[in-house]
């Protein structure tokens, strides 16, 4: 291996990138734009669920019950509907996602000490939204029941209301959110998006690199030169790794200074881990580039290999531990998941090398395998 030749190749590649001004700009603009759009737009909280109420009772108590939903920030009241027959078309046109139907004699029955059944309809098309809505509905109902019970106790057992409350609610739950006390989704999104952007953009930058030379025929210059394949690939990729490393710094700065995500961990460790991750994802682009013959194919395969794992198998939406064994197995095959732990750990949890070294090692092994396979597949003596 000759350092000079590697540098020469890297220099040539760098010149080529710099002369394609538009591409150079895109190489830096794309990651930044992605982080900005997602940071502002990807709100994962389920809030403002549009809903309406069918109140057949129209008494103070039924209104009090409905008002718990109307006043909540989780729901967005769209108005009252006279009859439940009108609900179906509202659901079909996605005007509402949830409806509450209060039966007649709601107040009379409750006052008489009978139990009452309230119907609630939820649009199940988006399951995550549906389960969360269901959770909110049941939680509000439990709270309402607690108050009803307190009332009932104080009237029928004959004790003052504050004592009845104690009696009615024996177990008090103290809830604490660790790492993100106010549960701000922007904080998590900003941290996780570094993972996402660095999973998707470096492979795209790189994937075209070698195929382009193959497609245009300029690769023959390399085939007939004294440059070895290791030197060629290393030199070829150095500029892309550098660009992506600079991008990782830009993304970090945007997350911290623009989105205000707290960075509690060790910056040097995080930087080092990001470089390993970038080398790893660049390796995906390299592998694709070596494998295929045309740039169109390289584009499509890169999409397949990066976008889906980065969304579904990274822990962005769902933690790996709650997947089925099959899903867990798939997740371990992609590097995204390890870096999600590193990013969330370094940003929100404030942990460092002691807790996360295993993930960095996993990424390094992953990178080594990718690069090794690419070196083996790349040949200076093309068939046919």
């Amino acid at each position: 291996m000759n350092i000079e030749r590697i540098l020469a190749i890297a220099h040539k590649e760098w010149r080529e990138i710099v002369r394609d001004r538009f591409f150079l700009a895109l190489a830096f603009v794309v990651p930044t734009v992605m982080l900005l759009v997602f940071g502002y737009g990807l709100i994962l909280d389920v809030e403002n669920i549009p809903f309406c109420v069918v109140d057949y009772d129209k008494t103070p108590l039924s209104r009090d019950y409905a008002y718990r939903f109307i006043g909540s920030r989780y729901f967005n009241f769209k108005g009252e509907v006279e009859h439940e027959q009108k609900l179906r078309s509202l659901f079909e046109r996605s005007q509402i996602r949830f409806a509450l139907i209060i039966p007649p004699n709601f107040e009379r029955d409750l006052r008489a000490g009978r139990s009452v059944t309230v119907q609630s309809l939820i649009d199940g098309v988006f399951p995550f939204r549906a389960t969360t809505s269901k959770g909110y509905v049941l939680a509000m109902n439990t709270a309402f029941n607690g108050e009803l019970l307190t009332d009932y106790f104080s009237k029928h057992v004959g004790i003052p209301p504050d004592q009845a409350e104690k009696l009615a609610q024996p177990v008090n739950i103290q809830l604490r959110y660790l790492y993100n006390q106010e549960l701000r989704s922007t904080w998590s999104v900003a941290a996780v998006m570094i993972m996402f952007v660095l999973m998707v953009s470096p492979p795209f930058l790189t994937a075209m690199g070698i195929v382009r030379e193959k497609e245009s025929g300029s690769i023959y210059n390399i085939y007939c030169s004294t440059v070895t394949r290791t030197e060629f690939l290393l030199g070829k990729l150095t500029p892309y790794v550098i660009i992506s490393t600079i991008n990782s710094l830009i993304l970090w700065a945007l997350s911290v200074f623009l989105f205000g995500a707290p960075f509690k961990g060790d910056p040097i460790f995080f930087f080092f881990a990001s470089v390993v991750y970038v080398v790893c994802t660049t390796g995906i682009g390299l592998l694709v580039s070596v494998m295929v013959r045309t740039q169109v194919a390289a584009m499509m395969i890169t999409v397949v290999l990066t976008v889906v794992p980065a969304v579904l198998y990274s822990g962005l939406l769902i933690p790996i531990s709650s997947m089925e064994p099959m899903g867990q197995f798939q997740a371990h095959l992609f590097p995204a998941m390890y870096f999600t732990d590193i990013a969330l750990g370094s940003f929100l949890k404030g942990v460092g090398i002691k807790e996360l070294w295993g993930k960095v090692v996993a990424l390094a092994i992953y990178a080594a395998i990718l690069w090794a396979i690419s070196f083996m597949l790349f040949s200076k003596r093309p068939k046919s």
Binding site: D20, F22, F23, Y40, G41, L42, I43, D45, E47, N48, R93, D109, L110, A112, G113, S115, S120, L121, V125, P127, F128, A130, T131, G135, L138, N145, L149, V157, K166, L167, Q169, P170, V171, N172, I173, Q174, L175, R176, Y177, L178, N180, Q181, L183, S188, L205, R212, R293, T294, Q295, M300, V303, V304, V311, I318, S321, M323, G327, L348, K349, E355
Partner: protein, 383 residues
């Protein structure tokens, strides 16, 4: 005479469409990628749960009584799974730090004694908030489990017999979930993934087909041929739309209905019409992108910056209701937003044209604007 010309026009269109399809079919890796996207990729996305499922719970039980064990037993599959017991809080937080657990339940000493003697007992629940979605769900469920447990204990305290439950005022909520009664998320994700695949292919294939000619220089040949710009452009769109429609049919019947057994309720003709309309709309965007770029590397980066936000923010992954107001307005400019409305409407809710006409109108309008604009820019390159 006019008839001859008309016939020639169609023959040229047809042969160029054929040429595009041939070119595509000779790229083995590309075919593999497209087939993968319409089959395995959709299948993979069906293995992911989008709700609280087996969230790991660890317990610090300082009481070790039958009552505390009863409470712990209420945290069960499918929402939670017990990840073991720790002996102090520090050890528990260490496990949360290392992402080995999501919830830490802390039961104080004398839990049983205090509960039986009529005092109020505090139970501490610590939830990992670094993933806000899971954090919300986990705390929701934990709150409900502990709340219901408390209510049962309260009734026990006044020596209340469960058979007499009818005489306590109480609101029962009967939750009915429409369109997906068991909330099986494997209904949602594969469809969402299919829509994403259609978007990415519809954007990339025509853009790539157009730029490739520029990069290779074959555009010169087309320019000196007796073809009009429209005759060059339309075949690229038509052939790629055909590929997308065939792929969609494949994954709809093969994977979505076949493997997952998701019931498709609506009119399939209407659905495929929508797919075609949407693909043409997106192709317009693809052609538009192609006019800005000189090589495929640029196309790849531009598609990335256009496609990712459109896909992630149009409601395929996150609810539009929760977005900031400006973004909720902005997504009305995304054809995918209407496409998602219509696809879920047709496939899961069985909605017809009557319920979806406004989305259909929006999609047609946006589609024609983007296509006409893309075509205009594409034509202008030839001057």
């Amino acid at each position: 005479m006019l008839g001859e010309e008309f016939k020639l026009w169609w023959i040229r269109l047809w042969s160029l469409t054929l040429k595009e399809l041939l070119q595509l079919s000779r790229d083995g890796f590309l075919i593999i990628a497209i087939v993968y996207m319409f089959t395995l990729d959709i299948w993979l996305s069906g293995n992911v749960h989008l709700e609280l499922h087996r969230a790991t719970l660890i317990v610090r039980d300082a009481d070790h009584s039958e009552v505390s064990r009863e409470l712990i037993a209420n945290f069960r599959y499918p929402y939670f799974k017990l990840g073991g017991e720790v002996f102090d809080e520090r050890e528990g937080i260490w496990m949360l730090d290392r992402n080995e657990a999501i919830v830490l339940l802390d039961i104080p000493e004398n839990f049983m004694r205090d509960l039986r003697s009529g005092r109020t007992v505090d139970v501490q629940v610590m939830v990992d908030g670094s993933n806000t979605v899971i954090g919300t769900l986990a705390s929701n469920y934990a709150g409900r489990i502990i709340g219901e447990y408390g209510l049962d204990r309260a009734l026990e305290r006044i020596k209340f017999h469960p058979d007499k439950l009818e005489t306590v005022p109480r609101v029962d909520v009967r939750v009915r979930v429409w369109y997906n009664p068991n909330q099986e998320d494997f209904w949602f994700l594969p469809i969402s993934e299919l829509l994403t695949v259609i978007t990415i292919l519809g954007l990339m294939l025509p853009a790539a087909a157009a730029v490739r000619e520029k990069e290779r220089g074959t555009i010169e040949q087309l320019l000196v041929s007796p073809l009009t710009p429209a005759q060059i452009m339309i075949p690229k769109v038509v052939s790629m739309t055909l590929v997308v429609i065939v792929g969609t049919a494949f994954s709809l019947f093969g994977v979505i209905k076949g493997v997952f057994g998701i019931p498709v309720k609506g009119n399939l003709g209407f659905f495929f019409l929508t797919v075609a309309l949407y693909t043409v709309a997106v192709s317009g965007m693809g052609l538009f992108i192609s006019t800005f770029t000189r090589n495929l590397a640029q196309v790849a980066m531009l598609v990335l910056v256009v496609a990712m936000p459109v896909v992630l923010l149009s409601g395929a992954w996150t609810p539009p209701e929760a977005m900031p107001v400006w973004l909720r307005r902005a997504i009305h400019l995304s054809p995918l937003y209407y496409f998602i409305e219509m696809s879920y409407g047709i496939l899961l809710r069985g909605a017809g044209f009557g319920a979806l006409w406004d989305s259909f109108l929006g999609l047609s309008l946006l589609g024609s604007i983007s296509f006409v604009f893309g075509a205009y820019r594409f034509r202008r390159q030839f001057r």
